[in-house]
């Protein structure tokens, strides 16, 4: 790359008047644009199909070839939410909500001070600490599962939502520390010092200087931690039973289903995914930063 870079004439980056030239992305030919649309459509079709089927009756859902224009009904959702069938997904949805929200709050409480100590007033060897956090996220959960299970059995925490909360906190802490650190690193230190010299109190400094830069970052971090906790299956499946089971564990009840149930499965899949879809689209811009553990901005 450097060979080409060195050869490139510097003048091209400026207009003749010396202003920086505004560079624009090349426009696609119509064919490439169409190709992008086709691929995007293919990727979204399963989701559209899931949503459409969830609003069909079980009979219309099980036709071949598919009946796209069948009348819409809430039958699938009524079945999933247990109207007349006796099943009740609400406890598991509430468990998922509790586990995701509470663990996210604890993650923020732990990650914010840690990120502060890794960026604004950094400890010595701060980058080693940062990479230690990252390495814990890379170790497979399944390898620590047995001791956690035995501990839960011994301490009576099996089937207790608080155990999941603690584990989800540990699972998301590295991501949160990395993301929060990169957001805090954008806080202008000169302004912090200036505010302090002008005699602004800690609260005022936080509100006027730190918050505007950091709040969007905190929001994105929370949403991403929420998604990871909401999605988690292996720990929940192993460590919870009837009381503390989460929504993904509830969904595994559909794995071996037989008969006319497709609309209900689709309703269930869509209902459980809806919070993640909302959170994900809300955090769209920061999504890649969270998924790459803060390595890509």
């Amino acid at each position: 790359m450097s060979s080409i870079t060195d050869v490139a004439p510097v003048a091209a980056t400026r207009t003749p008047e010396g202003r920086p030239r505004r560079t624009r992305k090349p426009r696609s030919g119509p064919l490439l644009g169409l190709l992008a649309w086709v691929i995007g459509f293919l990727f979204v079709v399963p989701v559209l199909w899931m949503v459409l089927t969830s609003f069909h009756s079980e009979e219309d859902a099980a036709t071949n070839p598919p009946s796209l224009a069948a009348p819409l009904t809430l039958e699938g959702y009524r079945e999933f939410f247990g109207v007349g069938t006796g099943t009740n997904p609400w406890p598991s949805l509430l468990n998922s909500l509790t586990a995701s929200v509470v663990s996210t709050v604890i993650v923020l409480l732990l990650a914010l001070p840690a990120a502060y100590a890794l960026s604004i007033k950094p400890v010595r060897k701060w980058s080693d600490v940062l990479f230690f956090f990252l390495s814990t996220r890379m170790l497979p959960i399944v390898a620590g599962l047995l001791p956690i299970y035995l501990f839960a059995q011994w301490s009576g925490l099996l089937d207790n939502i608080w155990l999941l909360i603690v584990l989800y906190t540990a699972m998301n802490l590295p991501i949160a520390v990395w993301m929060m650190r990169s957001f805090l690193a954008e806080v202008p230190v000169e302004m912090l010092e200036a505010a302090q010299m002008d005699g602004a109190g800690l609260l005022r400094t936080l509100r006027a200087v730190v918050a505007p830069v950091v709040l969007p970052g905190i929001a994105a971090t929370s949403l991403i931690c929420f998604i990871f906790s909401w999605n988690e299956l292996l720990l929940a499946r192993t460590l919870t039973g009837t009381v503390a089971q989460t929504a993904p564990v509830y969904l595994t009840g559909f794995v071996t289903s037989q008969g006319l149930f497709l609309a209900q499965v689709c309703a269930a899949a869509f209902a459980v995914s809806l919070p993640v879809l909302i959170a994900g689209f809300a955090a769209q811009d920061k999504l890649v930063q969270g998924l790459s553990l803060g390595a890509v901005k």
Binding site: A8, A143, L173
Partner: protein
């Protein structure tokens, strides 16, 4: 690309350059130690929590992996040396699980990386509705993994009324034929079915990382090259691809770390049957159903050893990107 001037200016904006160790003041040693601890204090809760919850279990796993411990035979508990490892590496099921894990990971990572690269390149250009296509591409990643696996298993792969066979039937009917092929996808190609579902979910992840990489390219330099008469292929081959290398590595490594651990898709789509049981699934079964704690632990250690290799490479890539970001 970045001159020394830019680098030093960038440094000024980035606070977290390693703290210049305060000049060791001969009389103030105690003072410095106090201020060191004041700096460390906000870090300690997170650090201690992480060590206790994530590192301790691994130590226990390591110890148990050298023990003969089956919950069904509590009296026979004791240390046995390497016999668990021997049985993990000689047992047919375990060996198959290791192989399945490797195949599953390699296929899913490579295919979704290539697809992701293609889509990212398409999305890096301007065209009508680019934002909509980007949103459509991200959607698969925002379906809860279990729900996505259920969707593929029941609504798409199902031989009687799944969308795949339904579409085949629809197309055949269009041409007046009634005997469209109606394969039973999961039975015919179980591992491929799991792979397809995973590729569908992970391509958006790769695309997002690669798109971020593409957008961090120095556009002015590329335009300069174009003005100098470089062809689109030359620009891609000699400028874009080298720039993307780190992002490709990052996507591959992070993808591997996540997919080696995959449990949801295997559990849901095939329940580990038909030769699709990967290591996480087998470990789950070994300790959750067979209660063979020693062997499950040994298999867990094997997974960790495999992951450490990938993780070390991943950490190195992240570290390079991290230094570039900080120097910018």
């Amino acid at each position: 690309m970045s001159t020394t001037l830019e680098t030093s200016r960038g440094r000024g904006q980035q606070p977290p350059t390693p703290p210049t160790p305060p000049p060791p003041p001969p009389p103030g040693g105690a003072l410095r130690r106090t201020s060191d601890w004041a700096r460390r204090a906000p870090l300690l809760p997170a650090l201690v929590f992480t060590i206790v919850v994530t590192q301790l279990p691994f130590v226990v796993t390591l110890v148990v992996s050298f023990m003969d411990w089956n919950a069904y035979y509590p009296d026979e508990r004791g240390f046995t040396g390497f016999s668990n490892y021997a049985s993990v590496l000689t047992d047919v099921n375990m060996r198959e699980a290791i192989l399945t894990t490797v195949i599953l990971t390699v296929v899913v990572v490579l295919v979704s990386l290539l697809l992701g690269l293609g889509v990212a390149l398409l999305l890096d250009r301007r065209f009508r509705g680019r934002g909509v296509v980007r949103t459509m591409m991200i959607t698969p990643f925002l379906i809860v993994p279990v729900a996505a696996a259920l969707l593929w298993k029941h609504a798409l792969f199902n031989p009687e009324y799944g969308l795949l066979n339904g579409t085949l039937n629809g197309i055949w009917r269009l041409f007046g034929s009634d005997d469209a092929p109606q394969p039973d996808w999961i039975t015919a190609a179980p591992l491929v079915s799991v792979e397809v579902a995973l590729i569908w979910q992970w391509t958006p992840f790769m695309m997002l990382i690669l798109l971020a990489g593409l957008q961090s390219r120095p556009l002015d330099v590329i335009e300069a090259a174009r003005l100098d008469g470089a062809s689109t292929w030359q620009i891609f081959r000699y400028m874009t691809l080298p720039h993307l290398r780190r992002y490709l590595e990052l996507g591959a490594l992070l993808g591997s770390i996540y997919i080696v651990q995959n449990f949801d898709a295997v559990f849901t789509i095939t329940s580990g049957g038909l030769g699709t049981a990967n290591l996480p699934y087998v470990i789950y079964q070994t300790f959750y159903q067979a209660h063979d704690y020693g062997r499950a632990s040994a298999a867990g250690v094997v997974v960790v050893i495999g992951t450490i290799v990938i993780a070390t490479l991943a950490l190195r890539t992240v570290s390079t990107l991290f230094q570039e970001e900080n120097a910018r």
